[in-house]
Amino acid sequence: MKSHDDIQADLPLYALGSLEAAERPEIDRHLAAGCDACSRELETWRQVVALIPLGAGDEPPADLKAKLFERVGSGAAVASSVVARRRIGWAAPLALAAAAVLALATYREIGWRAERARRDETTAGLQQELANARGDLAKVGAALAARENDVAALRSALANAQESLSLLQARGLTLVSLKETKDAPPAEGHILLSRPTGRALFYGFGLPPVGSDKTYELWWITEKQGPVPAGTFRPDEGGIGRVDAPVPTDAGAIQAAAVTVESAGGVPKPQGPMVLLGSTTKS
């Protein structure tokens, strides 16, 4: 004879219906004897088993519902006409009308089913087209963004070129050449300087990159104020640096220009190593 625990352990199998027929009576007797704990446990297992079929995911054929209504419609129509004839013979037309109504309902059901299938197909097609269109749009958007970047870069290059060109056309233009200082890596630079218009453009070449906490800074070495900051720059990948440098008006004569390496952001007076130097008087 099984213990209470043995019986409780068999309850999921009992609920699933997989126990051997010979094993069931003992459990039936135990339950009939009034074991509340096992009755409650069995009810829970029954709920679990009752849910199992919901896991079967196969879809029926699309026309199965229409077939059901074909069968139901004809059966109902026949039944209606038989009942009508038995009860009141003169009501045959009513039976026919009922049959007609049912036939119409069946027809409408079939038509509705077909219409829904058509709509589903159309919807699926439209959704696919929409997905394709979205994909194309994303590609066009990416290409456009790349073009906009190109345009911005070209505009910037054009502005620089126009500025350089306008400076070349300015009055009193002089060229200041800068060379690397002693112990500095080989590099050079030049400044297009137009004192009458107060404009100047510096270009440096062969300058090694500096860390993110450093910057190159251009200086005017003036007669009255000594070094005056003229702008900071970081060379591009080709080692070329560019500064649109304003010319100081109240510092007296500009005697020279220099480039130093300073802390990022620049400093008011040079503190770091000087890498380029050029005298204006030589030009």
Binding site: L13, L16, R40, L42, V48, P53, G55, P60, L68
Partner: protein, 185 residues
């Protein structure tokens, strides 16, 4: 969206719209169970038609106090499907019981949103089983096989099969916990 009781009342009043709504709600599950039992799409189709036709003709016999409408439909469906399989395999003289003990259970409420939610949860629960566990549960539920028949079919020891089904049921109960109602004491 009508409640199950209203739909049953509709069937009793020969309302085809009620049958249409019930088919939309339960047709997939009925067909899927018939297909799982028979493994034959044509047979599953016929069994589904028979099941809903019986519902249409015998709606009066449905007693809501004896269980949910879906369980009633599935009882009809499984009985028909298993009978058909037995007739096909008559030479084997199968002796398994024809239905689970769960055919008389009251599951939680059956509105469509709940039904879809439970379908999803049951699929997750089934996915949590190992392939061997899933197969053993399916043989018991869909084919109505007993442990010894499953052991014969799988060529495995009886004890192994029993343990596997117990473990599988434990996993299902754990995952399905959120939709199980606590029996009153």
């Amino acid at each position: 969206m009508r409640e199950a009781e209203q739909l049953i009342a509709g069937l009793r009043g020969r309302d085809e719209a009620a049958l249409s709504e019930l088919y939309d709600r339960y047709g997939q599950t009925v067909y899927a169970v018939a297909l799982r039992v028979t493994g034959d799409a044509g047979a599953a189709e016929e069994i589904s038609l028979d099941t809903f036709h019986q519902l249409w003709q015998q709606a009066d016999r449905y007693d809501a106090t004896q269980g949910s409408l879906l369980n009633w439909l599935l009882t009809i469906c499984r009985s028909r499907a298993i009978d058909r399989m037995r007739a096909r395999a008559a030479r084997k003289r199968t002796t398994a019981t024809d239905a689970t003990d769960a055919d008389h259970v009251h599951p939680p409420a059956e509105d469509l949103a709940d039904l879809n939610e439970r379908r999803q949860l049951v699929r997750e629960a089934m996915a949590a089983l190992s392939p061997d566990q899933r197969n053993a549960v399916a043989l018991a539920y869909y084919e109505g096989l007993s442990h010894s028949q499953i052991a014969d079919r799988l060529q495995e020891p009886l004890g192994t099969v029993k343990t596997r089904i117990r473990q599988a049921m434990g996993v299902l109960r754990r995952v399905l916990g959120p939709v199980l109602s606590v029996p009153s004491s």
